[in-house]
Symmetry: none
Subunit: 213 residues, 4 copies
DNA sequence: GATGAATGAGGATTCATTCAT
DNA sequence: GATGAATGAATCCTCATTCAT
């Protein structure tokens, strides 16, 4: 019983450090952020951070992986809602909006920013985020598009390319609009962008005649 | 004469520092890079760097602006080649490829990475890169698309959105393929991606019937 | 039975820690060596070390005393072999060689090095080693020399001084030859040095005419 | 002129750091001593220490070398006074006393203690002290003894061994008496020890009949 | 204007020690 | 009694920045 408490305490502490690390790194940048700040944010002693994670670099990796995993799960859930049921356009718009939400999540932006920042020093971060998360989402999306094509609802030959393009249409405009995640975009505009992306996508790959933008 | 030489020496030195700064910052990251390293790369004394640029932050800004300006010019030149002459698809593919080249340029990647890295600390970098460069390219592209629409070659109502989507189709797939600029992509694949982007774009916005992918 | 086992386990553990401590301190230096390293070498948890010895300083003292005791015993055994029986020169050479062996023992060197290192911080180490060991060896040697003088085999008035000088002749040249214990000296050279020391000693204090070196 | 001032300032600072380093290391031990303390003692900023010497280890080496050089010079001067002029015993006693003074010098003790302490971590310190100083003194002493032997004043075949033994007789008893340099020995006792050492030496290697101790 | 030297503030990391179990 | 985890103080070293020349 008390054993559980301790174990829990340990786990909690580890998790608290991971959360704190990501928060602080996201806020101040990896290089600028002090391990002191992480420890303070987590409410533990600096040495405890080192006991758990060895060094700052490894701490970043761990925090990274944790957030990337969350993001992966959220993205996957969104993609998995892309089935053939109901109206295709509506479904695509709904899924697209969900993906946009994932993309705009504060921690997602932070993840991408941190990765870009440290890419040249810590190239393996890219594997964590891209190979273990982004690529898999893309593959899953390609799978769904392929099934829709098989079902005669879409017209495409390279599902991975189509997935990439759909993702591109959904996400890329957000870079400018949100100023790389530093500016909120009203829900309404998101909806509009999702519609526009899906519209373009369907004009290119849909079977039904598309409407004008 | 010696005056000229000196003045030239001064200008050269300034330029050398800017180049060195960008190189070093790109290689090691802004925070990790020491002003020593920049000075060494430029072949001047550390104090000279301070004489010219005051402090490290300002040095980054200046180096940033210089590179952003170059990138802007290159992008603008590419966009300006998008006229109504000749076959539209060919033209779009050619311009698209040129834009991709700009996007893939090593210094461009470095620019975006550095910006992402320092965004939270130095938000004004974003203005330099986005407002003074990316946005203007997008507007110019929108202009050209608008003229093509007016000329009856394209069918679109929101040229800025169309420009964003074209840019999205061109650039976003590169993020994955080049692993954020850390991996070369063969010219052939670039060409293929450009074709695919333009194909999708034309199916959505073209007047002529589009071919299959 | 289990009580015995446990008690034995405890004693073994204590001894293991002492051995480990001396080994680690000798290898890495007292200040540089971590208590972690000692615990690891002993195969126990760090806290166990503290349970047994209270703090690092005390651990050093205990480890020190243990090794000093061993060294004392070995030295005493050598000195006690210095009796009047048989040929005096041979006996002196044999005892001298034995003392040299003690002096050259790896742990002896470590003892002296550690003591030198910590002398200013922990002056009481000197008492452990010198007063409780070296001085007693010297007194014992003086005793034996005095008896030999009484027996008419040696000619000396201050046996302690003679003992010091004999010890000096035996040990001091080893400092240079072994480079303070970091270099092995071949047995043959040891023998030669012992002979030379005894020869000089006998020329100064012997009654029989001495040979040339 | 002002240039001289600067250069002088720099040299002074360097020398001040070296002095301070040796003082602090000797007082607190190399490992325990902080570079802060050295800087404070020298009256400079910590970073200045690093500017001059790179790291702590190198600082130790430099401080070491400086003190070793002084010690070498003092020892050499003493040895060089060992000529054939005048009464041999008196001369030897005088030189012996001078060597003892060198040996007992506070900085000499510190040098040997520091070396012993750090020997296993920084084996090259031994070269600085032994090869570059102690060995040379011994050779010089051997030279002088050889000349005395040639001149018929001493009777010896291996001058280096004789030198080692003379040095042994002079120095080794001091280890005990001064408790490794932590206790003052009155001048009178030094004189007595020098006499005793020389007496034993002359009995072994002299040509004139030796007196009783 | 360019430089070498100096500095103060700060950052990553280690370590002796304690405590709850 | 033995342990794993936690901690606070210290330590080495770096770096942006300034000054005298």
């Amino acid at each position: 019983m008390s054993g559980t408490t301790v174990a829990r305490g340990r786990i909690d502490k580890r998790q608290a450090i991971l959360d704190a690390a990501f928060t602080v790194f996201a806020r101040e940048g990896y290089a600028q952020a002090g391990v002191d700040a992480v420890a303070a944010e987590a409410g533990v002693a600096k040495a405890t951070v080192y006991n758990h994670f060895g060094d700052k670099e490894n701490l970043l990796r761990a925090a990274f992986a944790a957030v990337a995993e969350d993001a992966l799960a959220k993205n996957m859930a969104a993609v998995e809602r892309l089935t053939g049921e109901g109206d295709l356009r509506e479904r695509l718009e709904s899924v697209g909006l969900a993906l946009m939400d994932c993309y705009c999540d504060e921690r997602s932006w932070a993840l991408r920013r941190l990765m870009a920042a440290e890419l040249s020093q810590l190239p393996d971060l890219l594997d964590i985020v891209q190979r273990r998360a982004a690529d898999r989402v893309m593959e899953a999306l390609a799978d769904r598009l392929a099934r829709l094509a098989l079902a005669g609802r879409l017209q495409l030959t390279d599902p991975l390319l189509a997935a990439e393009q759909l993702a591109a249409l959904l996400s890329a405009p957000l870079d400018r609009r949100t100023r790389l995640g530093t500016q909120e975009v009203p829900e309404e505009e998101l909806r509009h962008l999702a519609k526009a992306a899906v519209d373009t996508f369907l004009r290119a790959f849909g079977k039904e005649p598309a409407e004008a933008v």
